[in-house]
């Protein structure tokens, strides 16, 4: 059984004006596999508790993990974690959790990562773990988001950050000035052009809101990818799940 363990906010980084990466110090944490998540528990002084699940954003490391939390102004937990949670404050975490939406760092197979909005978070953990372990598996990342202002991890997923990781960004509402591709949803043609062909039998990870995940998974199936090579993780509108 996974136990609840204290986690202290050690540092933070703002990915966008409404998305904050929390660097948590978790004594006894022995690392995780890329794609796994943690449950986070917050307890008020009167004993009221709230629990949420968040994907881990960082590569595996002892005693430390990073989460990126997107603000949902109507939510209960994300306004606290994004706005009020201060360095030195503590929550409890349980994990690492999940053995299915996980990239096997020893597998040489090519990898297609498809992220919608904050669905990029567990995919970023895979990119970081690839780098940390020196894996030579080829990655192609398709990142769908509304506007350039919503983009996370812009340096790490910037132009030519890593020759083994191709990054394609699809803006759905506002494209940057001068870009060849207008604002439009990620299409089957995009998956075809920027993913790997089905003949290469890549393993495909899709994460994002429910509708996005369903559309992307249907697109992969239409392109001939085998259902058992497609792994999905949906999250709800409020908070991570």
């Amino acid at each position: 059984m996974a136990r609840w363990t204290p986690a202290t906010l050690e540092a933070d980084r703002w990915e966008t004006p409404t998305a904050r990466t929390l660097v948590l110090s978790v004594p006894g944490w022995t690392g995780h596999r890329p794609g796994q998540h943690v449950d986070v528990r917050l307890r008020a002084e009167d004993g009221y508790t709230a629990e949420r699940s968040y994907s881990i954003a960082s590569a595996s490391a002892p005693d430390r993990l990073e989460l990126t939390v997107q603000l949902d102004p109507d939510g209960e937990v994300s306004p606290y974690l994004v706005g009020d949670f201060a360095v030195g404050d503590r929550v409890e975490v349980r994990g690492p959790l999940g053995g299915w939406f996980v990239w096997d760092t020893t597998a040489p197979d090519p990898v297609v990562l498809i992220g919608g909005g904050s669905g990029i978070v567990p995919l970023m953990a895979m990119v970081r773990e690839r780098h940390r372990t020196g894996s030579r598996a080829l990655f192609r990342l398709l990142y769908s988001l509304r506007t350039p202002e919503d983009r996370y991890y812009r340096t790490e997923l910037g132009p030519a950050a890593d020759p083994g990781v191709d990054v394609f960004v699809a803006y759905t509402r506002t494209a940057p000035p001068g870009s060849a591709r207008g604002p439009e949803r990620l299409s089957v043609a995009d998956l075809n052009t920027h993913g790997f062909p089905a003949e290469f039998a890549p393993v495909c990870f899709v994460c994002g809101p429910t509708g996005f995940v369903e559309t992307a998974a249907d697109g992969l199936l239409a392109l001939g990818h085998a259902p058992d090579r497609i792994r999905t993780e949906r999250y709800g509108a409020g908070g991570r799940r």
Binding site: P6, A44, G47, Y80, F85, V91
Partner: protein
């Protein structure tokens, strides 16, 4: 170990005469679901009350709409801790539907399209306390909120107000419904915070 997260309060509170303990006020209408939303056609819709002797009383959609309509204005309280104040509904009182039903039953099990059930004492469905509601805020009830018609029993936690209602079975003995089987309270009074069995 009870670690406190400093500065975290959760979402609670409001006017204590309107918001029951442990609830918070929302202005949205959250959709709570235990499965896919059934699409129920009013052409084939029926509502059936089955008594403890097996007698059946069935209404079609037209027959329901031909009955006297009431427009309750009420607050609703969901066990997932949101309360929504001043909601407006239109529907048929269970008093009207039970008028010609011969019964000495003490309990009712509400059934929904999609398989959901919930149990209530029959006396909580009478005396102007419960309706088969088909209109919310002046508009036909959305399928996500239980349309074409749902049970409305606003003095109990809202899981008792079964969406997509298809019928009531009247029973001499209480029979737990979907959430009641899984540990929720058989009665569910929000003002006494009867969330779980044993509360």
């Amino acid at each position: 170990m009870n670690l406190i997260t400093r500065g975290f309060h959760g979402r609670r509170g409001g006017d204590p005469t309107r918001i029951p303990p442990g609830q918070y006020e929302t202005h949205d209408f959250p959709v709570l679901t235990v499965g896919p939303t059934p699409r129920v056609d009013t052409d084939t819709w029926t509502f059936t009350i089955t008594t403890e002797t097996g007698a059946r009383h069935t209404w079609t959609w037209e027959q329901l709409l031909a009955l006297p309509q009431e427009s309750p204005h009420t607050d609703i309280h969901c066990v997932t801790r949101w309360s929504k104040l001043d909601t407006d509904w239109t529907g048929v009182s269970l008093d009207t539907l039970l008028e010609d039903v011969e019964t000495t039953a003490e309990y009712a099990l509400a059934h929904s399209h999609g398989g959901y059930t919930t149990d209530l004492p029959l006396q909580d469905l009478t005396d102007g306390q419960a309706w088969i509601a088909h209109t919310f805020d002046g508009h036909p009830l959305d399928p996500e909120h239980g349309g074409p018609a749902r049970l409305l029993v606003p003095h109990l936690y809202f899981w008792k107000s079964a969406k997509w209602i298809s019928g009531l079975t009247l029973l001499d003995e209480d029979e737990p419904g979907f959430w009641e089987q899984a540990g929720y309270h058989d009665y569910g009074d929000p003002w006494r915070e009867q969330r779980y069995r044993g509360d």
